[in-house]
């Protein structure tokens, strides 16, 4: 690997080795951003089924009960919670609020995210 800055180093954005909590927040925010953008595109494509009438849409929804889909949806919920809560932290820091507490605030928000993921996961897999 060359030493000066280079776009080819982008994979190291996602390398947490020897880094601190803030880098974990950075990595999670970036991965969830890309994942949610991809999901947004897929969601729009999926909703296009509605334009094709009842039979097509209802068949598609039946497909969505597949466990693989449910795991995918759980990942979307997790990404949404992590990205949203971390985004609040970043916004507050940039308005001069809590920048000195950025580590502890990130950990606290991720606990909330975990709680949310657990709640929605329970409903999706064990709820009615």
């Amino acid at each position: 690997m060359t030493n000066p800055p280079s776009p080819s180093h982008f994979w190291r954005w996602f390398d947490p080795r020897n880094r601190q909590v803030g880098t974990w927040a950075y990595i999670l925010n970036r991965i969830t951003a890309l994942g949610l953008t991809l999901y947004l595109a897929l969601h729009l494509v999926a909703l296009s089924q509605l334009a094709q009438g009842a039979a097509v849409y209802d068949n598609f929804v039946a497909l969505a009960h597949n466990p693989v889909f449910k795991v995918g949806e759980m990942l979307v919920i997790a990404a949404g919670l992590i990205h949203g809560l971390n985004g609040i932290r970043i916004a507050l820091n940039s308005f001069g609020i809590g920048a000195r507490l950025q580590k502890s605030s990130f950990l606290m928000l991720m606990l909330f995210a975990l709680a949310g993921i657990g709640y929605f996961g329970f409903i999706m897999f064990f709820g009615e």
């Binding site: 690997m1 030493n3 000066p4 800055p5 280079s6 776009p7 180093h9 982008f10 190291r12 954005w13 080795r17 020897n18 880094r19 601190q20 803030g22 880098t23 927040a25 950075y26 925010n29 970036r30 932290r89 970043i90 820091n93 940039s94 308005f95 001069g96 920048a99 000195r100 950025q102 580590k103």
Partner: protein, 244 residues
């Protein structure tokens, strides 16, 4: 110093001219309370005179000896060997990241120093301005005026650790942005806020705060970048409502 002797392997990055990087190992007997820089100096003095590295004050005020030690940015003059390895272990020594390598452990910091000049911050400032607003100011006589050197020793560790600086050579980087914030606090020069109001400036920061983690000198660059953002946002909101 302790009475212990440890056997340590130094794995040192070697890179001359246009060659690709290689690692050369040196097995050393060291006192674990010595500093990493002491080990590097003995390698140069007694093992390989072609090794190039940068050093000066040996007490963390010049910023010259910054390197990446076992994957983390450190000032090697104040990094005890026992803090980065154990007896029989390895110390991997690399040059700072995100700078061109001149030779071995020496990197080219000319652009960095040029940008620091552009930030126009006074390196000696009244204590009130030199200190972070949330840190305790130690002043012997409140009725007198005191000045001190500002905290940044221009070591470049923050830029080495910054993920934004990893992929963009035009990103100013934490040290420069922190210097701009310090310069603005000293001079209230709006030109400085215009200078950093771009993706190459404060908006290229993505809040990893690695800069603050590795800074050896209490600059808190991450906090200063966020403070500069706050200043720019406030200026924009004020101008939106017709108030300068």
């Amino acid at each position: 110093m302790s009475n212990e002797t440890w056997k340590i392997t130094f794995l040192v990055s070697r890179q001359k001219a246009q060659e690709s990087r290689q690692f050369q190992s040196f097995e050393m007997d060291v006192d674990p309370d010595e500093y990493v820089l002491d080990g590097i100096e003995r390698i140069w003095a007694f093992r390989d005179r072609s090794l190039t590295y940068r050093h000066a004050c040996h007490h963390s005020t010049c910023g010259a000896c910054g390197m990446v030690i076992n994957g983390v940015e450190k000032l090697t003059c104040i990094t005890p060997i026992r803090s980065v390895t154990s007896n029989g272990g390895t110390i991997k020594v690399e040059p700072l990241r995100n700078f061109p390598v001149t030779s071995d452990l020496v990197v080219d910091m000319r652009q960095f120093y040029t940008h620091l000049e552009e930030a126009r911050f006074g390196q000696v400032a009244p204590v009130e301005e030199a200190c972070l607003p949330f840190e305790k100011q130690q002043i012997a006589d409140p009725s007198s005026t005191y000045e001190r050197l500002v905290d940044c020793i221009e070591c470049g560790l923050c830029i080495s650790a910054c993920p934004s600086a990893l992929t963009s050579s035009s990103y100013l980087g934490p040290a420069i942005l922190a210097a701009a914030q310090q310069g603005y606090m000293q001079s209230k020069d709006l030109q400085l806020t215009h200078w950093v109001d771009s993706h190459d400036g404060v908006w290229g920061c993505h809040s990893a705060f690695e800069c603050s983690e590795v800074c050896p000198s209490n600059v808190e660059p991450g906090w200063r970048i966020m403070d500069m953002r706050k200043i720019i946002i406030a200026r924009r909101v004020r101008s939106f409502f017709g108030r300068t």
